[in-house]
Each structure stands twice: as structure tokens, then as C-alpha cells.
Symmetry: C2
Subunit: 329 residues, 2 copies
Amino acid sequence: MSKTNDVIVLGSAIVDVLGAVDDEFLLTHNIAKGVMTLIDEHRAEQLYAAFAEPREVAGGSAANTAVGLASLGASAHFTGRVKRDPLGASFETSLRETGVAYHTAPAEHGPATARCLIAVTPDGERSMNTYLGAAREFSIADLRESDVAGSSVLYVEGYLWDAPSAKQASLHAIAAAKANRTKVAFTLSDPFLMGRYRNEFLELLPELDILFANEEEAKSLFAVEEFDDVLQALKSSSAVVALTRSEKGCVIAHGGEVHVVDAAPVKRVVDTTGAGDQFAAGFLYGLTRDYGLSHCGHLGALAAAEVISHYGARPEIPLKTLAAGKGLL
Amino acid sequence: MSKTNDVIVLGSAIVDVLGAVDDEFLLTHNIAKGVMTLIDEHRAEQLYAAFAEPREVAGGSAANTAVGLASLGASAHFTGRVKRDPLGASFETSLRETGVAYHTAPAEHGPATARCLIAVTPDGERSMNTYLGAAREFSIADLRESDVAGSSVLYVEGYLWDAPSAKQASLHAIAAAKANRTKVAFTLSDPFLMGRYRNEFLELLPELDILFANEEEAKSLFAVEEFDDVLQALKSSSAVVALTRSEKGCVIAHGGEVHVVDAAPVKRVVDTTGAGDQFAAGFLYGLTRDYGLSHCGHLGALAAAEVISHYGARPEIPLKTLAAGKGLL
């Protein structure tokens, strides 16, 4: 099938709901400061109601990568489940306005649209309360195989393994990709997932064309303590592996080929949220343009540097403009 | 020939002469603060006479590597020229007390023993005034081929290229090493040397078994701006190349094999003098023990971390004890 879209992204469809609060609000509502806590629908409704003038923006790790891809000028398509409710409509509007294509039909029944209620205190700290709701119910029925077949790359987030139907849908999408010469990219998402799915991810590795992992995730995957041991463990892998190392930059490995790329300079690190998501966006963009691996690494580093220089997980400056200015396009 | 010695080191034989002075001393003697200046014999004698209670210690980049090797428990042999004068005797005594073998006959004629007059001000700044004297006159006559043939590794410093007879002696030693299955290790020594000897060093590269370079030196050698371009340029090299990157650690490349090793932790960086020399000592020690390249890199990183945690270019703690404590021996 001919490729009409650059990247199709599978992930949790979550609305970030930001509310400016004071520290008393955290105490009143029993919110742990500066951390991410999973909450149920009842508590989610309570907190949402308590926020004065909440600001809503489509979020979720993989969706933010789709936004970064669009910001670079790639055609990106997001697939993930919301419910037909006000937040579901908010997700759809907010994601589409970035240029990302999104047309998963909202669920008529079941849990409400996922949201991350972010209580922002005057000191800039972000206390996150996440209800996964409809995002966890993502299933094969939500997937359009033609969307996978028509894309150059399928990008799947490891977070989906935490929901059985979402995992099943992901594996189905990966099989469809392989049947249609769509490259398969995967992110390990979070070091904690390795405790639960290490063996499944190791079994998945030979199926992947591109793997994204930060240093902690990669060490956890191979159960090693040294970064270099990760690199050596990957020598026999056929995938392009992009290992991100925060201020140490990234290392890109592809069989015997290894590239060591420095982090892009940042005047002041404000909020590291979304660094990995934007790195993936920059790197994938480069791959869709057939750039060399080092060039792809630089694009990833640039996108990550942009997003950590301000609050919020989406680029503020169009990444296309930024990358062109650096001579990377 | 059977190998009775681990490493033979060729380098400039320089006595470090440390004097505690005040800032007025720098003004009176017209010394540029915090930098290294080359001086002639007349000025060297003047400054030496002006130092109250000078402290003398055998120094020079390659000799310090020999000291590090001895500190790790390797047999190390230094070859470099001094004159038969008090500083020459001081060099010999000071080097031998570290356990390094040294028996180059002192020159009866010609320039005086090389010295680096280090004016240390109360703020801890070190202003260096170097007279290269006899060290520059090092020649084939000072070299014993049996010492090269009887060693597992020959280690030569790039600084020697600045003196025609010393360069000739170095090339002679390298030829003797190759004829006797002695491995040849070389350090680029200083980025400034690339401006003068880039092509010669590039021609030398296929003759080397081990190359040491810091990031700046390596970029200068290949005339590239990105670290990763150095790495790619080295893909076709048969040498083991150890690239040091200060706080970013080191990258070891050997053909298609690449290791990325982190810097060893340092509580407080006091004086980075000698970091590269001690890295080379640790790395070479590992190679003489047939350790893997990553293991060698960790030994180098540990030795470098020790020497930058205090003033002075020699280890203060026996590196053997330190390395054993970290489980690296």
C-alpha cells in the first residue's frame, strides 16, 4: 500500500487539565505535591470540579510525540480512545488544532475520557493526578488497519501494555505494520514497566525497527547497571536503538554502528516533562526523511531542548522553524 | 624477545619546580597568571633563584603516566633526557622513588635539564613557566632498543614531535616496537600540535595499536566539529582508540566495537592537571592485564578522578589500592 502518512501513533488519549492552585488546595484535597498519583473516576470528577478556570490541552506521552512530529512538518496520525463526553471533545479539538490527524470514534459507553489533573502551585511545582478511564479500554475495534498500512512508521508506547485490550491492539497493529512494510517504532515509556513486562519487551525487540529508551529504562530492560552493558547487549539487535541520557545527550546504536550525539544546549532547564516524547518526535521525523542516524539524533536533541526550556509538554516554538534555523532540515 | 617490563614510556623529562609566591612576585617577575609560558634558560635560572624553598618533583605528561602505571602495580620504564646537573639528579631521584625504572644517561653537554617553574599564588592559581632544555635534545642515542623489545607496550607522547631529534627517536622506537611485537601506544598530547603535525599524526595512525586523545585533540586531528564525526572517522582504524571527554566520560572505539564509559564520580574537582595522563595510565594498565576495553576505560576514569580531586599531577592515593577497592583489579 502506498504511504500517504508519515507516522501513525498509538497511545493513551489523556487530557491534561491544568489548574492554578495554592498550597492550601493541595492540603484540602489531600494531593501529594510534585508527584504523579493514579486516581479513580470519582476523585477525578471531584478535583476537576474544584479547579477554578481549568485549562485543558490534549496530552499523553505518545500524543505529545505526534504533536512534535506535526510541529516539524510531518504528517502524523493519532489513535487512542476517548469517551463521548466534554473532555473527549476537548481532547479531539486540542489535538487537531496542532495539525495531528485524529479520528478514533469516541466510545459511547464505559469509563470517562482519561485526564491528568495537574495542580500548579505558585512555586511552579506540578502535582499530577491521573485517571486513565477510556484510554485503558483502547482495543482492536478502535484500530483501522488501513491507517497503519498507509503510514511509513507505526509508533507505539509501552504504557499501553498496562491495559490488556490496549496491549492486544498494539500487537495487532505491529503485525499489520509488518505485513505492510510499515516500520515499527516502540518506546519503553517508563522504567517501572520493566518490572512488569521485561520479558515481553525483550521478546518484542526482534520485531522492532526502532526502539526508544532512556538510560534507566534500557538498564532495567537488560537488568544491567552500566550504560555500556546496554550498548553491548544491543550489538546483536537489528533495530535502530535511540538511547537518551539527559544532559549526556544520546547514543544511537544500529548493530555495529554507534553514534554518540551531544545534548543540544539549553539556557535554563525549566521543566523536563516531555523531553523523551519530543526527542522521539525529532528522531522519527529525521528517519521519515531518510536522514543519517547522527542527523536524526541531533533533531531529537533539538526538540527535547526546546520542550525542557519552558513549562508544558508541547513545543512552544514551531520545531520546523527551529530546526531550519539550526541547519538541520 | 620475552617481555620483562609492562610499559616503556618515551617523553619529555621535566622537573616541576613549585614555589609558593604572592601576587606581587608575579608582577615583579612579569609572569602571566594562570597560563603556561615557554621561557629560555636565562629566565629559567632567574626565576629558579627567586623561588624561596622550591619543591621539586619529576613531571612531564608521559612521565606522569609512567608514575600512574607504577602506582597501579605495573612495571614501567621511562626514557627521556636530562643533563648532568642538580635538576637532572633531582628528576632521576624523584622519578625512581615512585617505582618507575629510569636509566637514560644524563647528557654531559648541551642545554640544562628541563623544568616547569610553577608559581603557586595564595588563591591556588598555578602560573607555569617551562624551559624545555635537555628534554628537546632527546635522540636515538638515548634509546635502548632492548628496553623497547622487552616491554609489552611502548607509550610515546605527541609533544616529542616538537623537537626534530626527539621525533626521530620516537619513530625509531616505534619501528623497533613493531619488529618485536611490542604494542605501540601514542597520545596526541595537545590540540595545538594538530596545527603543526596533523598530517604526520594521520600517517602514523595505521602504525598504532592504541591511540589516546581528548575530544578537542581528536576533533582537531580529523578537522571535524562534532564528536560523533570523530567516532565515524575512526571506524576504519585498526587501533584501539580511547577518547576522553572530561565530565562526559570516555568513548573507546576499536573498529566496529564502541564502548561508552561514564566518568568516575569526584566529590570536588580541584585541579584538572594530569587527568589525561592518569587516564592513560589506568587504561594501559588494564590492557597489559588483558582486561576488556570497558574495564580498561573504567580504570582510566578512576585514575583520572583521583588526580583531579587534589593539586598535583601524581596520584596521592596508591591507584592499586583505589582500584582494588572498586573491584576493578
